[in-house]
């Protein structure tokens, strides 16, 4: 299995050189990162050349890497304020529209992730492309290559504000007509900013600021304890056992 993975990695490196970066493979899907300037070119090759043969774009989505790998649980300076003492507000569920954090200056914040499927060769591929500018993320549109990208790109534009250059019809798709902001960004509050209701007195729908409080019960924690490293623990145990065994052997020899 690992040989084939290596072969696939080589296939991409040989064909595209340093325009792509081959990432780890999980569940049999190779993941490659493509530079934004060669995004269209690489995709066209992936569709047209037989050894790749990706006839279908199954999925495309945006992703916001702000706050990646950050936990909300910080017990380094514990105070006397009760259970929530360790919870630092960071996640999107813990602030309202007015308290939303200034978007941090993170490079490679917005990415576009594409899943391709080859029916001929029966394999999948994951492509990722980072938008170069965080303030105004722009990525070339894939609609010309796979027409199924059309609505997926509209969705990524709507939810993340990623602009797809060359898209024929880049309108919002999921959110309400006249919506402000891009709700799936990590600096957009989970509770939103406006609420809609029908006002019987005015006899029309009215928009008001939300009146609910942010409330997420479970803090976000990151744990890297031994349970996720069972293999390493086993290996270490084996190594120790071997050492002990060989030590005993030496003793006997001596």
């Amino acid at each position: 299995m690992s040989d084939t993975k290596k072969a696939i990695a080589e296939l991409f490196t040989n064909r595209f050189g340093d325009r792509v970066k081959v990432g780890p493979t999980v569940g049999g899907i190779v993941s490659i990162e493509v530079q934004v300037d060669s995004w269209l070119e690489v995709c066209r090759v992936l569709r047209d050349e037989d050894e790749f043969g990706f006839e279908q774009l199954t999925d495309l989505c945006g992703i916001d890497y702000l706050s990646y790998g950050q936990a909300e649980w910080d017990t380094s300076d514990v105070s006397q304020e009760g259970f929530s003492r360790g919870v630092e507000s960071l996640g999107s569920g813990r602030f309202s529209w007015d308290e939303r954090p200034e978007a941090a200056d993170v490079s490679q914040r917005f990415g576009v992730v594409v899943h391709l499927l080859s029916f001929k060769n029966n394999h999948r591929l994951r492509l990722r492309c980072f938008a170069p500018d965080e303030g105004m993320p722009i990525v070339p549109s894939l609609v010309e290559i796979w027409s199924s990208a059309n609505w997926y790109e509209r969705e990524a534009f709507d939810l993340f504000g990623i602009v797809f250059e060359g898209h024929p019809d880049l309108r919002r798709i999921m959110t309400d007509y006249g919506f402000t902001g891009h709700p799936f960004r990590k600096d957009f509050p989970l509770i939103g900013n406006v609420a809609v209701r029908y006002d019987p007195l005015k006899k029309r729908v009215v928009y008001e600021p939300v009146d609910i409080e942010p409330r997420v019960g479970v803090p976000r924690v990151l744990r890297e304890d031994s349970r996720y490293k069972a293999d390493e623990v086993d290996q270490a145990a084996d190594a120790t056992a071997e050492q002990v065994a060989s030590g005993e052997q030496e003793k006997q020899d001596g």
């Binding site: 999980v26 199954t58 899943h115 798709i173």
Partner: protein, 417 residues
């Protein structure tokens, strides 16, 4: 000469044939559709964003509510994605139960499809027939999970609990009594598996009944043959999957091509259409009903012969039972940690797809090592199908758009997410 202008009209969002909250803006030249522009998102609930603020297991319930006609298949994709990142594999009995329930779900989805498509195109009786059988599948859901629809039954590491030994019978009431009660309880005297077996053995005859009503029906054929034709190349290009793809003659089914659960252990065929029109999609779905019944029977046989665990024994991910918790300090600690914090999934990303009744339902999961997903994205088959509405409907009559929407098999829970 009178001036002739195109009309622009709204089809939905409150139209019974729109299958939910689809607002379809149609530009009409007389009775002919010139342009169709679907507006979706009226049922957008930000499931993916909500999942980012909850421990992994707490989102399983949301998955039921995406495609609310094929609940357990959605759960399956999500649960598999988590299992893949955790590197765990559920025991074989759980895998068989999942296979069986995936097929029951497919069965109930196609029944609802045949019922509602029939009613859209003016065939009332098939609706009543199909709901008669669908009710039994709802009972199977209830017997195993306690809920008729939103089961939350699949969990990372297996399924929530084993199949019950007793199928709950109907109780006597003012409406069900005497001979009628006896007839309805005939299959319900044994275990759930007995009930499912009796159902799956009986159901091919019921499928014949639907076919008698529709397959050679002149009106049905007039409404569906040659309507909404999709060529195989177009189907690939537009991101089709599932029945929409097979109806166009592309031989592709994830259950065969990229098998998961126990699909490589059971025997079944994949029906493929030739014309790619609404009628072929109907035929493919009917044949899939028969194949599902076949798979269900094979799973029942295996499950009857092989009792065993349905959940992994791994307290780091799966909570201990109540008895274990009361008995053992370690188990109590694990229980507490799992229910207050959940489990952390190692950093990484994966994409897991299942062959849901409507097509490929995929789950793209990114974890940064926390107890909540960093990002989840659900690839809903209906979203891709609906996006091609303009190409499908252009040039057809207004009444044909109803047939087209119907055979796309849309559920707005998954299109809008």
């Amino acid at each position: 000469m009178a001036e002739i202008r195109n009309y622009t009209m709204n089809f939905g969002p409150q139209h019974p044939a729109a299958h939910g909250v689809l607002r379809l803006v149609l530009e009409m030249d007389g009775e002919t559709v010139v342009r169709a522009d679907p507006h979706v998102g009226l049922l957008h609930r930000a499931t993916e964003k909500l999942a980012e603020s909850k421990p992994f297991n707490q989102s399983i319930g949301y998955l039921d509510r995406l495609d609310y006609m094929s609940m357990m298949c959605n759960e399956h994709a999500y649960v598999r994605a988590i299992e893949q990142l955790l590197g765990i594999e559920p025991p074989p009995r759980a895998q068989y139960i999942r296979t069986m329930y995936d097929e029951l779900t497919r069965f109930s989805n196609h029944l609802l499809w045949i019922a509602s498509c029939g009613i859209d195109l003016g065939a009332m009786t098939v609706f009543l027939y199909a709901f008669r059988e669908r009710e039994m599948i709802m009972d199977m859901y209830e017997a195993v999970s306690g809920a008729r629809m939103h089961a939350a039954y699949y969990r990372p590491g297996g399924v929530y609990r084993d199949l019950p030994d007793k199928m709950p019978p109907y109780k006597e009431s003012r409406w069900t009594k005497g001979k009628d009660l006896k007839r309805r309880n005939e299959w319900r005297e044994g275990s759930l598996l007995d009930f499912i077996e009796a159902f799956a053995k009986d159901v091919p005859g019921k499928i014949d009944e639907y076919e008698t009503l529709l397959t050679n029906n002149r009106i049905w054929k007039q409404r569906t043959v040659g309507i909404g034709v999709v060529s195989p190349e177009k189907a690939l290009q537009m991101g089709y999957s599932g029945v929409m793809l097979r109806g166009s003659g592309v031989e592709w089914d994830l259950r065969k091509k990229q098998p998961y659960a126990m699909y490589d252990q059971v025997d079944f065929d994949i029906p493929v259409g030739v014309g790619g029109d609404c009628y072929d999609r109907y035929l493919v779905r009917v044949e899939e009903l028969r194949q599902s019944a076949r798979i269900i029977l094979q799973c029942v046989d295996w499950l009857k012969a092989n009792p065993g665990h349905v959940m992994l024994k791994n307290f780091k991910v799966i909570p201990p039972t109540r008895e274990e918790m009361k008995d053992d300090m370690e188990a109590l600690i694990h229980h507490f940690k799992l229910f207050t914090e959940g489990y952390c999934v190692p950093a990484g990303e994966t994409y897991c797809a299942v062959e849901a009744p409507k097509g490929e339902f995929g789950c793209y999961l990114v974890s940064d090592g926390a107890n909540k997903p960093f990002r989840v994205h659900f690839r809903a088959p209906g979203f891709a199908h609906l996006s091609s509405m303009n190409e499908l409907a252009r040039g057809h009559m207004l009444a044909d758009t109803v047939a087209i929407i119907s055979t796309l098999d849309l559920v707005f829970g998954e299109v809008d997410r």
